[in-house]
Symmetry: C2
Subunit: 256 residues, 2 copies
């Protein structure tokens, strides 16, 4: 009897080519597939809630796989962690309900992008924040973030060359907060296009530095032209924070 | 004309054999000596406020060196950072006043030891916190920490085989705080013996887990016997947070 197991996975993406299996290096998914193989003796292929790029992190990624192994579902986390490198952890495992799919059942996702200001890059966040030492107008960035709220066609905020039939998404949270030298951009939506968060952040950083006008986000949403948005921000500042389903929320798992 | 330059240095100690120059690997001091040589063309040997072990970090370490280089004192930080790896940063440089010595002039130091509780080790703090998944009685640890306050002979809290004439130190802060899954031990003193913080923490962790009685710190302070204290806690949880002098405080630099 095959069961579907769902996992909450945390990883530091610094040393990986990204979530997705790749020919050119080791991916997070590959390491998890290998650990699941070691535990079950079966050729396992995980399905994640979505891809993350090389250098992008996850505080809470969701994945599922099917297995006939008879191990209690909650033990997969511990058994897989014994075989995983220290920069990947399975925080939680359980049997998924009928019909659950890590990607297709996802209702909402939240990402955080972290910027560190100040003259020198902090050594403890060198792999998890983008260091910017030039002045930024934080109020401008906050106002620009609000322009992304709501239902829009985000095709200007998608890396060129991506094929995607439907590019309308609903953003339910889009805001910057500051804590000392750190600036955090938190964004939630029912889905994200490829590089959407990094292009939003890149555009807002150019608004904050004065290279783009205050209404650049609104203009690019209107025109739908990629060139009207800013550059794609570097990957290391980006972290997948939360994935929500009708019956499951990674924030509930992280609280335990 | 030789000047004395003082630096505030931050480092992630994970990949180093420690602060001090060693035969068996690369030290933080070696990398800084090399960067100072590249900048000045002189054979520079830095003096730190004290050693840190392999795997121990510094949010703010102080060091000084003498040079005849004519560069403005505040430019050494930027020039050295261009030559340093990303896990070592010079946060600040200035000309030191007459008679300043990073080690002998230090009046107070503060360390933080970080413990992460919970079933699985968090990937983002795997190198900067000690993960403990077994239950700890936090109240017992807090009460034990208070026993270290004040002037005591800390010879029981010094690694065996260390030669040290005077082992009396005055601890002005010794407390645990909790933030979610993280427990922080903050300790300030006019000086620390070799491994003193890690042995204090190791003892308190054994008090918290019930392996040692509540009064183990007080008893070891009384007896002066190393075996009465607990094991030396692992290095990765330890960070040098602050060094204070009569005329200089690293906290003032970090605020800028």
């Amino acid at each position: 009897m095959s069961r579907r197991i769902r996992l909450v996975v945390q990883y530091d993406g610094t040393d990986y080519v990204g979530w997705q299996l790749q020919q050119n290096g080791v991916s997070v998914q590959q390491r998890l597939n290998e650990a699941a193989f070691d535990v079950t003796g079966e050729a396992i292929r995980l399905h994640g809630s979505g891809r993350t790029d090389s250098g992008v992190h996850a505080k809470a990624q969701v994945a599922h796989f099917d297995t006939t192994a008879r191990m209690p579902a909650d033990k997969f986390a511990i058994a897989m962690n014994m075989r995983l490198p220290r920069d990947i952890r399975v925080l939680y495992s359980e049997e998924a309900p009928e019909g659950f799919h890590a990607r297709f059942s996802a209702k909402n996702k939240t990402y955080r992008y972290t910027v560190q200001t100040g003259l020198h890059a902090d050594v403890f966040t060198r792999n998890t924040a983008l260091h910017i030492h030039t002045p930024l107008d934080f109020e401008k960035m906050r106002r620009a973030a609000a322009d992304a709220l709501g239902e829009h066609d985000f095709c200007a905020f998608m890396s060129a060359g991506t094929a995607m039939e439907r590019t309308v998404r609903t953003v339910t949270r889009s805001e910057w907060t500051a804590d000392g030298k750190y600036l955090y951009y938190d964004v939630s939506a029912n889905g994200f296009l490829y590089n959407m968060v990094r292009i939003l952040v890149g555009t807002m950083l150019e608004i904050g530095s004065g290279r783009l006008p205050q209404d650049a986000i609104a203009c690019a949403l209107n025109s739908g032209v990629r060139a009207d948005a800013g550059a794609t921000a570097p990957p290391q500042g980006l972290t997948l924070m939360r994935v929500q389903y009708d019956d499951f929320d990674t924030d509930e798992v992280l609280k335990r």
